[in-house]
């Protein structure tokens, strides 16, 4: 356990204020959407702003599902995100293992290429990817999003996993191999179980990226019943009207999985992301 540094009174006050500001700043925008989603249009159109809804009303949540097939959007996002995560991790683990553990002459070059791939602007790939998906007859299908999401998150997954694999002592594998285990055996029985936290971190990263992606989802899956939530939340606005209580309710539903993941895995996220950063 870390020991708390000794702080004098003014330092403690400054830190407490800072922490309060950090927590407020992080949560307020979402809390505000939650409050807005419980108001009706009348309460909304008040200035000075009425902060708390006087009659909290969940009718907007029902309207989210009745005005658009939001349940379908949600399922689409779930399917696409889970499958792209599975594909990405399945491909990233062996690649990262090879880059971290095997003797490859072009290792430095390969790692550089992985970094370069992580920096490709998606908007530049939009048209050629669209044509590719159209010629493969994949528009308005799950693979149209799963394949690019898995590929776009692959570099960051590989870099994260390389950092984790590299941190596992080589002697453990060496010992297992001297005892007669094959290299693949050492990988699956020794290295993988020990780097499970890294695999979880990588999977979380891919899931969050996939859940949040907007541009490709907007352009490739244009049929209403193939939309994802990130596009779905933008469908409630009219040409000139912004029904904010309704939009807010949709936003709140759309971020539930993200907020749950963050709350449950906050330690893992921070550990994984900071490990990747230090290593990079």
């Amino acid at each position: 356990m870390e020991q708390a540094p000794r702080l004098n009174l003014s330092e403690r006050v400054i830190r407490a204020l800072g922490l309060a500001l950090l927590v407020f700043g992080g949560f307020f925008p979402l809390v505000w959407m939650l409050l807005t989603s419980l108001k009706n249009e009348g309460e909304l159109q008040k200035f000075p702003v009425q902060y708390l809804p006087s009659h909290p009303d969940i009718a907007n949540y029902a309207r989210v599902f009745s005005e658009q097939p939001f349940g379908t959007f949600f399922m689409n996002s779930l399917i696409v995100s889970v499958l792209s995560t599975a594909l990405c991790v399945a491909v990233a683990v062996p690649a990262a293992y090879a880059l971290a553990r095997l003797e490859i002459r072009a290792r430095g070059l390969l790692l550089t290429l992985v970094v370069a791939f992580s920096m490709l602007p998606v908007v530049s790939l939009l048209v050629p990817l669209f044509r590719l998906m159209r010629s493969a007859n994949l528009l308005n299908s799950y693979p149209a999003l799963i394949l690019p999401y898995a590929a776009l998150s692959l570099p960051v997954a590989v870099l994260t996993l390389v950092a984790f694999f590299s941190a596992i002592p080589r002697d453990l594998e060496a010992a297992a191999m001297v005892d007669g285990t094959s290299r693949v055996g050492a990988m699956t029985r020794i290295v993988l179980p020990l780097s499970l936290p890294g695999v979880v971190t990588a999977a979380l990263l891919v899931f969050v990226n996939s859940w949040n992606e907007f541009l490709l989802a907007l352009s490739f899956n244009t049929r209403l019943n193939m939309r994802t939530v990130s596009v779905g939340v933008t469908l409630y606005q009219g040409e000139f009207a912004f029904p904010w209580p309704l939009i807010s309710a949709a936003v709140v539903i759309a971020v539930v999985p993200i907020v749950v993941l963050i709350a449950v895995f906050q330690k893992r996220f921070v550990a994984g992301l900071t490990a990747g950063g230090v290593k990079a």
């Binding site: 020991q3 708390a4 830190r15 800072g18 922490l19 950090l22 927590v23 700043g25 992080g26 925008p29 979402l30 505000w32 200035f47 000075p48 399945a90 062996p94 690649a95 293992y97 090879a98 880059l99 095997l102 003797e103 290792r107 430095g108 791939f117 490709l120 602007p121 998606v122 908007v123 530049s124 790939l125 048209v127 050629p128 590719l132 590929a151 776009l152 692959l154 590299s166 080589r170 001297v178 094959s182 290299r183 693949v184 949040n212 907007f214 939340v233 933008t234 912004f242 759309a254 993200i258 963050i262 709350a263 906050q266 996220f269 921070v270 992301l273 900071t274 990747g276 950063g277 230090v278």
Partner: protein, 311 residues
Amino acid sequence: MRSEAGKVSTSPRARTRRRIGGDGPLAALLLAPAALLLCGVLLFPMLTTFRDSLFVNKLTEPWLGTPFVGLKQYAQMVQDPRFLNALRNTLFFGVLTVGGSFLVGIPMALLAHTPSRVRGLARVALLLPWAMPPVITGLIFAWLFNGQYGVVNDVLVRGGLVGEPLRWLSTPGLAVVAMVITIVWKTSSFVALIVLGGLQGIPRELTEAADVDGATRVQTFWRVILPLLGPSLAVAFIFRAISAVQVFDIPYTFIQQAPAQGLLETLGVYIYRTSIEFLDFGYAAALSVALFGVSLAVTLVYVRFVRGGEG
């Protein structure tokens, strides 16, 4: 640390491996699926973009056909006021939002680093902006900055700072301010996380030694901690610079709601509109290559400074 892995070693482990036939074939096998996915879905479209930039391909003027025009569209680009405007906006937003995310992110990291009773809560607050979908961030802040009933206006009016609610999104200058604040909110987390990683790598003895020598906390920060954070700050800077150059989702959402479009149009948004709204695929490809170029330049700096150190 990592460079050790690249050397040919003569440990028992390496000898075992050589006996079973070396790593080459196995490595190729393990890398193949990743290579296939990256080449098929990222590299191939990228190469297509290069080729497309040399041809005219306007869906709105199909009678033109798709003739080869060489670098003509690049010549058109450097004289296109809308491109130059988007480039200027992108760089302007880049400087402000990257700088802003460091100003906010570094104190956030320092706060999250010191142990406290609310550490878990602080970590969630730190991660939320980073994990939030950018489109949704754009929507939320568009509501916060609403010109009539927005919270920002409410606070300003109640605080006596302004008499009337400000029309944030429809006043060009204010729309820029609102967008910078939104992007800084969204991206400071990332800087904080990278810096947090750097802070965790600083041995406690160093700061304690400074403490014993009578340095104040501020002195310790400037003289001991900040220099040691150098590599983390460099990594954070490069990644922030790349994402700033490519920024799309948040400006896209803001533009939907703001008449102050010219000032908010970034390169990413202009490329999107050129391809999807104006259906000018050839020109969009040329613009895309320009964006590749800027991204690649930043990537090369990254590889040179950070990865280069590993030999």
